[in-house]
Subunit: 330 residues, 2 copies
């Protein structure tokens, strides 16, 4: 079927504030290591005031995936809400300068553009504190019908499930996609996000989702069992599940079988922020270009390896060239 | 003499927008490579729209120097104008979280916080386009008398000379410093800045400045002659001149003589942004701690080597530890 876009991504539009911190600061701040926590404006300010000098980079899980797909040469659109403020302009610039179609109007009367404080510890783990700001203004009206029905895959981040209006937007997008004969993909986002929404995620997978992206912790949190049993369980729910497993690579489960692809070598692990997002970018780019599961997983792994070798959640290399040279190397 | 601060720095309060670009883009944009150009809001937007995804980091020449001095463990204050907007908050956070005293109130009714688009080419050279925004609100009233008279050295960036009110603030600070028996230091900032203000810089050096920081291009632009003659000329004007010469290290000229210190080795040259600012940081920290000219220059060189080994104009390493370990290595 003809399609104007490979992927339409929907998610929170966030600017990341990245800081390198030492382990003890996490305890002092009382934040849970390795996961994403939602905070209000006051708590966000309190944490920020304790951070060392930082760097601002556009982020947001599905937006990172969209940026990755664009860097791979894919046709991609993004739906998400910023405010018409400085960080909103930064977010829009960083996405559209890659060629990502971004039709969502900025909010005028709203909280500021969302920020996520990402504390990167010396072990390259990231701990995230998100102030959603203007993201809470995302509603079903923002779901661009032309984009969704013109995209082979509509990709949704699980984080959207934290808010009722975003949830409605999410379901509207899924319905539009399926009506147009397209696929719906979901990222489970975070084990705590899964815990918060376990039952509705189960229903979602069974009723609305074709492709699911998760890491090991998220998938086992969803099914409250070990990895093997979770892989069997998810096979009954969706057409395809791509499960990332850190240094063990990734496993793709379909009705037809299971394929595991080893992790790509990483010269120096610097910051794991964006690993899952860029895996999804590589996977979806290959998927929408007709590749088999193994090659989709391999492409995802190459993109993930790039993003964890430097600070920040978006590629610093032209991914199209990187994937081509990696795949053609003997 | 007792002093509350080692250094009081005064300069433009700027957030940098750093992007890696290929050489041809500079020509397409019609920007002059390697120098700083002032642009208005419209031109700034036009250039920004042509840049690839970027990273936002606090910058500003004298502010970078202040950050460096704080990282070295020095007591330092900064005077400069942001607006009370998102980038202004980022600028303030990044400076104060290092322990820099920053008494200047944010402007409420003003253009947005200043931004400098820094295009870094593959040869690690940086080309800067600055939109001064709220910086134009800096006036003599912002010169904090307690800070200036309590600091051993008041350090001024030459870029301030581009605006009449900032110039007045500059002269007020110099007068306050001298009245308190302190030293006044000036950075010449940029060869084109020197060209714009050549005559008044000459007067300034002769009448108000004790220590001058410049690179080779700036010093020879000032005296319109070769390096040797420029070094002789500047000796007659100031007590001390520290002249950076890239891979040739730096030369310090005083009434008592001339000392040249070789450049510190750099593993990988990534981005020269902040090289001069961090040289001044190291130099001034050592100077205000009673070190001789050679050790001041060496300390400056170590700090400059750190900042050019990564993207961005501020140190990513604890400079106190870096300088200590470098100087104690055999």
């Amino acid at each position: 079927m003809d399609s104007a876009y490979d992927v339409a991504a929907i998610g929170n539009a966030i600017v990341d504030i990245l800081a390198r911190v030492e382990e003890p600061l996490l305890a002092e701040l009382g934040v849970e290591k390795g996961i994403m926590t939602l905070v209000d404006a006051e708590r966000s300010d309190a944490i920020y005031s304790r951070l060392p000098p930082a760097v601002e980079v556009s982020g947001g899980s599905a937006a990172n995936t969209a940026a990755g797909i664009a860097s791979l040469g894919g046709k991609v659109g993004f739906i998400g809400k910023v405010k018409n403020d400085q960080l909103g302009a930064v977010f829009r610039h960083d996405l559209t300068s890659l060629g990502v179609h971004f039709p969502t109007a900025a909010a005028v009367e709203a909280a500021p553009t969302a920020r996520c404080m990402i504390m990167v510890t010396p072990d390259a783990q990231r701990t995230m504190q998100t102030y959603l700001g203007a993201c809470v203004e995302l509603t079903p009206a923002d779901v661009d019908e032309a984009l969704i029905s013109g995209a082979q895959v509509t990709y949704l981040e699980g984080y959207l499930w934290d808010r009722p209006e975003a949830k409605e937007a999410f379901l509207k997008a899924a319905a539009l996609a399926h009506k147009a004969g397209r696929k719906v993909a979901l990222s489970l986002s975070d084990p705590f996000c899964v815990e918060r929404h376990r039952d509705s995620f189960m229903t979602l997978l069974a009723d609305h989702v074709d492709l699911v992206f998760a890491n090991e912790a998220e998938l086992t949190a969803l099914y409250r069992t070990d990895l093997d049993q979770a892989l069997s369980a998810v096979r009954a729910h969706v057409e395809l599940a791509a499960v990332t497993r850190g240094e063990h690579g990734s496993t793709v489960v379909t009705k037809g079988g299971t394929v595991t692809v080893p992790a790509e070598p990483v010269q120096r692990l610097v910051d794991t922020t964006g690993a899952g997002d860029l895996y999804a970018a590589g996977f979806l780019y290959a998927y929408t270009h007709g590749r088999d599961a193994a090659l989709c997983a391999r492409t995802g792994g190459i993109c993930a390896a790039e993003v964890i070798s430097h600070m920040g959640p978006r590629p610093e290399t032209n991914l199209a060239r990187l994937v081509e040279s990696t795949l053609s190397a003997v």
